[in-house]
Symmetry: C2
Subunit: 144 residues, 2 copies
């Protein structure tokens, strides 16, 4: 398989188009539980990291701090996030996923990304491999 020369200026619009449209689709399919994609993502990051300050979580999720304040507030309302004061720095707050969150996330893990997964099943092995490699690159781009 020879790599084709791909001019970035041409790839960018196509990639953006694919991402925005697919993103809409993924957001639409929001069945199980009432967590939104954004909330689920934040909660998952928090669970993976163990404990984080709002700022750190915002950086990971690529949103501004005030946005994360809101997301966390929603999650706290549902009893999925616990807030404890930082032991030495009075400005900071430590966020952690609660036991309840673990249960919710496990439920999600089973039904997770149902729509997307079913579409992926319809693809060939090779296409999925392309997407796997692409996902890594895209994550890297998002981090940059």
């Amino acid at each position: 398989m020879t790599a084709e020369r791909v001019p970035p200026a041409q790839l960018a619009p196509q990639l953006r188009d694919a991402i925005t449209r697919l993103n809409r689709r993924v957001r639409q399919a929001r069945p199980v539980g009432d967590l939104t994609v954004t909330q689920l993502s934040a909660l998952t990051s928090l669970k993976l990291a163990g404990a984080l300050t709002p700022r750190e979580l915002a950086d990971i999720e690529r949103v501004q701090p005030p946005t994360m304040t809101r997301i966390v507030a929603k999650l706290e309302e549902r009893g999925l996030v616990q807030r404890t004061p930082h032991p030495t720095d009075g400005r900071q707050v430590i966020l952690a996923a609660t036991e309840g969150a673990r249960a919710v996330l496990e439920k999600f893990e089973r039904a997770r990304d149902e729509w997307l997964a079913s579409r992926l099943e319809a693809l060939g092995e090779e296409e999925r491999d392309t997407l796997r490699r692409a996902a890594e690159i895209l994550q890297q781009l998002a981090r940059a």
Copy 2:
């Protein structure tokens, strides 16, 4: 390059993660002109198709009709979309990009997807090729 077996249930979360995060990033970088990504996408689809009803455009953009009503309203305010009555069906409306829109789109074409394109430049030829193939698959998924 041997294709690796990729279980969809594992790929889905990673892909969704990559897509949502990158989508946030792309939205954030909204420099030239005051068209949002959503508006730009709708306008481009409209220009490519020539003329469409709101329903058709909504289907292409993967949004519900009321959402498209709003997007079109914004574009119409700016004089970028023209609305003419359907010749035979009084319920329908025909949307078309105006001359002004063509000018705006051309300007965008030059500065287009600046942030994304610059990131893509930093990648290797092979990675870009992976993304190109992935973009096609993703567009196909979004359409499905």
